[in-house]
Symmetry: C2
Subunit: 501 residues, 2 copies
């Protein structure tokens, strides 16, 4: 393991050589080579086979005897992976701009995390997983304070951990339903009819309430979440659902500065539709208890909207007495240059619920005081999260602060997006709608087939990317992705595009 | 940590002293003291304060500023906990017969698990959590083979890991819906109408299918699972649900041998109702895609049914073309004396799906070949489980085999249940319906108030128990619970009952 670590000095000189020897069309020779990565990173991609290589194919066949492997890209050697580089079982080393569907905050095998594992005081946290809701460990309040609550979004005083993103959103929805019903009752004491009917799934105990979501959104795949997910048919096909309202999400035209009037109109249209749906569903007898929205629709195609749009949406929830749930499962954790993407909106009236997972390593949600259910066992399950993930998160947050990673993200995101703008100008028949915030960037490709072909070609040249929406590529590097990583990526991407022509 | 370990010899002599000095009414002086615990266990409870003690109360107040703490019992010192003994932050050491809601398989800080953590080859598994569905680690197929698939129930060839019990059941339900729709279509290719309607939660893409469940069941708390959960109103109140059929679960009379005719009639009645509901819901246009059932309804009150009942239920699912899903989240993992509780039934035609979590340390489900969705990304999420939990599970299974823990469970379960029978005979006004399989035992208490008072009194004397149903106490010790632990418990329980009189 140690043998594969390259010293800072060596890495630096290798970087310079790599860039200087790049082909002429590459305009991305870095001027920032001195601003380099911590010494646990590799110096660049290194490819031995096309991907998946023979060993990956063999393992895929083996795993195929045990479960569906249709989505498996390749098998990984996580021991040898480092920083921004994912190493596969055939010895290919790839620059990772997808990071396990955006869930690796500070790269692979970060020394600070390995160090945590070496501390004997932490052993018990891994070996004894508690039922956190009834028997928390002594350090649980302190750990929550130094991890999740230290990055609580404005207005959020309370946090509930959960095991994954779907469970987080499911329980956030439940919190909104409980809050809404208590508000409707004027108190939190259910009637005998409520108590008896809920046992058999009937009204009024199980009320006909709804959550309003947006077309193109993704909030998870368990049945409550899935009723608010509208990104791809394959996620929803054949699964029973709820008759809940679905509003259009703005489809902005790019470049934004050329279409400001059209985009403002588009956002107004969507907001009007939201209000219409709230009224319509109330009349239907299925009142909207809450609205759930992603700051950037990720799975659905990296669809952005303006801060104005979201501020107006917040006002609409107030006007109609619905809760406002911001789903930061993919956007949270610093990747937009702020710790929470919705901090870019400048909300005067904070959200009611903000859910998270992925880069936060544990699922969960923050909530305002009034959203927290008063009675125990309403929001509950056996594990209620996992303290070993909170332990890692505390250290991740230390690294983010110590290394000013939010500033790095802003810087490298700018390099990435500027590079995409330039390539888009160079290849207008292939690329369009380059967009992003921090490193949370995307670009559209002319068609689905070309998009998928670019993803595979880039991978064979040592860059891992992800698709989203119908024909977008999304960039989701770790927070330790630096300007020179952006340059390495852009060089390779430029090669791929040149070969497509 | 090490200083608090008591050597096998010392522990043995302490055990003997403890039992010999017990008060006269205690008939549980062990004859099996020589068959003692591995040397990492403590010798018995040791109480310093009533529970929760002052430190627990202080921490509860602190945590109460961050989340709902209504369910918190006390705070734990997991570092000092060992084997069957949970130590709290006030220095109280309690014999644990509840084990974090039945989720600790081989006790606290088992040396075999600590050893795993010391192996540098395992570090990467903890530090780099992969998106298992797309980028599995090299050892993933082998690890599945040596862990989960090595204990696959009869007829189950495929396994899908998930993060928790609710996610496991949600995805198992989805598998059953997809399987049912493909069967109905005669193929797996959806129509254009299916694809467009599912995006907006409407039929036929999101079909009106249902899952049949039983009154008293508990299958989780996310919205799909919750529609099949019918144990306590507080779990379901205010949460929208599905109009799915709910059958009665047999209410057996005890002792079983005295009521064989009545119980057989009761089971027939429930089975008839199941068939009626399947027909009725088909006529309603909401066909039953699958039936989900626990081998023993745990949260609902430790309700048992006979192997005959379950075999007949399986036949009904075949007759009506529904899938058969056995939820072993609480019963699985060896606690009934077989690794899976449903192995006691002698099913000729295996179940279609068996879900698990808790003692298996990872969630997930086994399924028959034909239940596995053919297309990728239908059963999917970011993490799809957690390889660090599979690592622990492999070692837990090694310990279970090496130490013949299923035999131990059968033995100590017998001691526990016989003790409960005796106490029931001694206190007929308080105890009734003692029942169980392996150590998965329960007893009913005359009323809810007395039950809760017994739980608290037992805890103050150093025994942790859990309630279930309206007035039952459930016993859920770890698999390393031995006969002499049963004796220690019975001594204390006997004291508590004597003081109640």
């Amino acid at each position: 393991m140690v043998s594969s670590l390259i010293s800072r000095q060596l890495a630096l000189s290798l970087h310079k050589n790599l860039w200087l020897s790049a082909p002429a069309r590459c305009r991305y020779v870095s001027k920032a080579a001195a601003k380099t990565q911590a010494d646990f990173d590799y110096d660049g991609p290194s490819m031995k086979t096309s991907v998946p290589g023979p060993r990956s194919q063999e393992l895929t066949k083996q795993l195929g005897e045990m479960q569906n492997v249709g989505a498996v890209n390749f098998f990984c050697n996580y021991e040898e992976s480092r920083g921004n580089y994912l190493v596969d079982v055939d010895g290919n080393r790839m620059l990772d701009l997808y990071t396990q569907i955006s869930s690796i905050p500070i790269g692979y095998n970060h020394p600070a995390l390995l160090k945590l594992m070496a501390n004997p005081n932490n052993l018990s946290t891994f070996v004894n997983r508690p039922a956190l809701g009834i028997l928390p460990p002594e350090n649980f309040p302190d750990r929550l304070a130094e991890s999740l609550l230290s990055v609580a979004p404005s207005g959020m005083t309370r946090v509930q951990t959960m095991a994954c993103g779907s469970c987080s959103n499911e329980n956030a929805f439940k919190s909104m339903f409980i809050w809404y019903k208590n508000k409707e009752r004027g108190h939190s004491t259910p009637s005998n009819e409520d108590l008896s009917t809920c046992m058999i799934n009937q009204v009024p105990g199980c009320p006909d309430l709804s959550i309003l979501s947006f077309m193109g959104s993704f909030h998870g795949r368990t049945m409550g979440c899935l009723a608010t997910t509208h990104s791809k048919a394959i996620h929803k096909l054949d699964i029973p659902s709820f008759d809940w309202p679905i509003a259009p999400f703005p489809r902005l035209q790019y470049p934004l500065e050329e279409f400001s009037r059209e985009n403002a109109q588009e956002e107004s249209r969507c907001l009007e539709e939201v209000e219409d749906l709230i009224v319509k569903w109330r009349q239907k007898g299925k009142p909207v208890a809450g609205i759930v929205v992603e700051p950037i629709q990720a799975e659905g195609g990296d669809n952005h909207a303006s801060p104005d749009f979201f501020r107006s949406l917040r006002k609409i929830t107030r006007k109609h007495g619905c809760a406002f749930h911001v789903d930061e499962v993919q956007t949270g954790g610093g990747t937009t240059g702020k710790f929470w993407a919705h901090e870019h909106w400048g909300l005067e009236d904070p959200a009611d619920i903000v859910s998270f997972s992925k880069k936060l390593l544990t699922g969960g949600y923050f909530q305002r005081d009034e959203l927290q259910a008063n009675e125990p066992y309403r929001i509950f399950n056996t594990w209620m999260g996992d303290p070993s993930k909170n332990l890692f998160l505390s250290e991740v947050l230390n690294v983010i602060r110590r290394e000013n990673l939010l500033e790095e993200v802003t810087r490298s995101g700018k390099a990435l997006l500027n590079g995409l703008y330039e390539l888009q100008a160079q290849y207008p028949g292939i690329l369009s709608r380059a967009r992003g915030q921090g490193t949370f960037c995307a670009v559209d490709i002319c068609d689905d087939g070309t998009r998928n072909s670019i993803l595979l070609k880039a991978r064979d040249k040592g860059v891992i990317l992800g698709g989203c929406g119908e024909r977008s590529i999304r960039f989701r590097p770790a927070l330790i992705f630096k300007e020179y990583h952006a340059q390495i990526f852009l060089n390779i991407f430029s090669d791929v595009l040149a070969q497509l022509k």
